[in-house]
């Protein structure tokens, strides 16, 4: 649920509660005030009656009041009743219903007799006004809240636009991209803060990343020289020719490992260079010719293991790519297809429009296919490999936006790599 919808719901609930509460509070408040005013009115009325009773000798005039309000009743005892207010109901002819009425009872002493004075005042009308006023205000408040929410909905898109732009930038952010992501200055302070912070953060990350990459490249270069020294010395030692068999064997093993180290180092360097975009020059490469040449180079190797090569190459298929990387990409795939093939197996290489398919026979992978392109993932039967071949393939494919997929067919016992251009 969107932030806006959530806020809207909470705000609406709150306004609704406030409105209901407001209606009742207001009603109660008006009711209290009305009562107060009515009581004052009754008292004032009573005072007039009292004055009249005290000053008038002939009370028949007062008693003759048409609606019997105030009502006078002569009483015998001498006790004085202080003004007492009470609520009751009375029949109202107009409303044709019982209406709420306020009653004041009090005694008045005249010269000759005590009177109990009862004054009534209906307050139904006031209550009606109070209810109408309260509900009206409540509804108005609710309406106003809804209006505000609607305005909020309308300006939301505009206000949050920078936020969505920033999110978009972040989504498209790639560490190895040569052009830095631009987080521009925003007019909203919060978004500006977010934008600036992200800009600083990505800059730091990218600096660190560049530093790391340079370090890898320099380290790889530096390592090559000592390897060269060791290799040369071992070769001299072996070449002297008068070593006992056992020593010569150990030297040979060391040289092999050294060779592997050097290969590993070269592959890492290559990976770093691809990442660092050091093979940026591209040209239109004729893949058909390239694939044929590579198949020619590896043919002897395939023959050696009695692997039959089936090729189906459409002429003049081209791709804009760095020629060295193109050769490494296809070469690595072909090398793999031979290396992990069964002795006497098949290698199929199909190049058609926008697609290169290379498949070879072999058993199911001993690890998850998702790991296949990861660095240093090796087949348990070939621990001598660098485990970087397919990682390099993937890196190159990513560089040029090529899609590379792998599948294994149980029925045919066949691994297939498809490069889609």
């Amino acid at each position: 649920m969107k932030l806006l919808s959530k806020t809207a719901i909470y705000l609406f609930l709150a306004s609704f509660l406030m409105a209901i509460l407001g209606v009742f509070t207001l009603q109660e408040f008006i009711h209290k005030s009305t009562m107060h005013e009515i009581d004052e009115l009754l008292i004032s009325h009573f005072k007039k009656v009292e004055k009249k009773i005290k000053n008038t000798a002939n009370l028949s005039f007062i008693i003759g009041d048409l609606d019997d309000n105030p009502h006078l009743q002569g009483i015998e005892n001498q006790t004085i009743v202080n003004p007492i207010f009470s609520d009751t109901t009375e029949f109202d002819l107009r409303e044709n219903a019982m209406v709420r009425t306020r009653v004041l009872k009090a005694t008045v002493q005249s010269k000759s007799q005590n009177y109990l004075v009862t004054i009534t005042q209906s307050y139904e009308e006031f209550e009606e006004i109070s209810a109408k006023l309260s509900w009206g205000l409540g509804l108005y408040f609710l309406g106003f809240s809804l209006l505000l929410l609607m305005i909020n909905f309308l300006i939301y898109r505009q206000l949050w636009k920078p936020f969505h732009e920033i999110i978009n930038h972040l989504r498209n952010y790639q560490l190895n991209k040569s052009t830095p992501t631009i987080f521009k200055k925003e007019t909203t302070e919060e978004f500006n803060l977010l934008s600036q912070t992200l800009a600083q953060m990505t800059e730091r990350i990218s600096k660190q990343f560049t530093f790391q990459k340079e370090f890898t490249e320099n380290a790889s270069h530096e390592i090559q020289t000592p390897i060269a020294v060791i290799s040369a010395n071992l070769e001299l030692l072996l070449g002297s020719g008068n070593l006992p068999e056992k020593e010569a064997y150990y030297i040979q093993k060391s040289m092999d490992s050294l060779q592997k180290l050097s290969q590993l180092n070269k592959s890492l360097l290559l990976l770093t260079k691809i990442e660092n975009n050091q093979f940026s020059e591209t040209e239109v490469v004729n893949l058909s010719i390239l694939v044929r040449n590579l198949l020619e180079i590896y043919k002897a190797f395939a023959d050696h293991r009695n692997i039959k090569i089936f090729q189906e190459i459409q002429a003049d298929q081209t791709l804009e790519i760095n020629p060295i990387l193109a050769e490494i990409l296809i070469g690595n795939l072909l090398k793999n297809a031979i290396r992990y093939n069964k002795n006497g197996g098949d290698l199929t290489c199909i190049l058609k429009e926008k697609q290169l398919i290379i498949s070879n026979k072999g058993d199911r992978l001993p690890f998850s296919a998702t790991q296949l392109f990861n660095r240093f993932i090796k087949h348990p039967n070939n621990q001598e490999a660098t485990g970087l071949g397919l990682a390099i393939v993937k890196q190159i494919a990513e560089q040029y936006g090529l899609k590379i997929t792998y599948q294994f067919e149980d029925m045919k016992q066949e691994h297939t790599f498809i490069v889609t251009m």
Partner: protein, 226 residues
């Protein structure tokens, strides 16, 4: 044949010097740009082995200076950088070959031999070993005037063997010479064995003694001695 080896890493310089001296060359060394320039100006060499990155200058500058005056010197570049640009620049300036570190000394030796052959035996650059004679320009191999049919790889193998005769060549050195970077070590060992077996067979068929010796399982050597 006089060779000047220019390399700033002392251990590597020493190894190269020793290997090449064992091959019968007169070897001078220089480990800075300055001494290299002095030596190049003061003496005559047949071949230069130059490291591109020197502490006080670039090997490219030595080649440039040299090519203006003494165009006939063979030049082999050794560099830690495996960059195509450097390779092309070196060859453009007039270098004959470019090797990436680390390299096998046997490979360096074979490259130097090939350079010297091209430079000094123009017209008739024959490679000979006992009754075997090779003419590199058309890649024909003869055993006592009888042509031996070799595949391209077998031919390269034979030349590499003869360039480094009497020495033990490790399988990795042979593999790298034949296949360069295009094949990993793991794949190549018994593949090489097959090639060597075929070459051996073809030479013996033409009446050669078995010159290819297996040494302690450490490698092979090509020698008339037993």
């Amino acid at each position: 044949m006089k060779i000047l080896v220019i390399e700033d890493e002392p251990s590597l310089l020493l190894s190269m010097q020793q290997y090449l001296e064992e091959e019968g060359y007169l070897v001078s060394t220089a480990n800075t740009f300055r001494t290299a320039i002095e030596k190049v100006n003061d003496y005559d060499y047949d071949c230069l082995v130059i490291d591109i990155t020197l502490p006080d200058g670039s090997g490219f500058d030595i080649i440039e200076e040299l090519k203006q005056e003494k165009a006939n010197i063979g030049i082999v570049i050794v560099s830690a950088k495996n960059s195509l640009d450097d390779r092309l620049k070196g060859l453009d300036l007039g270098a004959d070959d470019y090797l990436t570190k680390p390299f096998h000394l046997a490979e360096l030796n074979a490259r130097i031999k090939s350079v010297l052959r091209r430079r000094f035996f123009e017209g008739n650059p024959k490679i000979t070993f006992q009754e075997i004679s090779i003419s590199p320009e058309n890649q024909n191999v003869f055993v006592q005037d009888e042509l031996v049919e070799l595949t391209r790889k077998e031919y390269e193998l034979l030349v590499f063997f003869i360039s480094n005769k009497h020495r033990i060549l490790s399988k990795s050195a042979i593999a790298e010479h034949l296949w360069g970077d295009s094949m990993d070590l793991a794949d190549s060992h018994d593949f090489i064995y097959t090639h060597i077996k075929n070459l051996r067979k073809k030479l013996i068929e033409k009446g050669c003694p078995d010159y290819v010796k297996t040494r302690y399982g450490a490698g092979y050597s090509f020698s008339e001695k037993t």
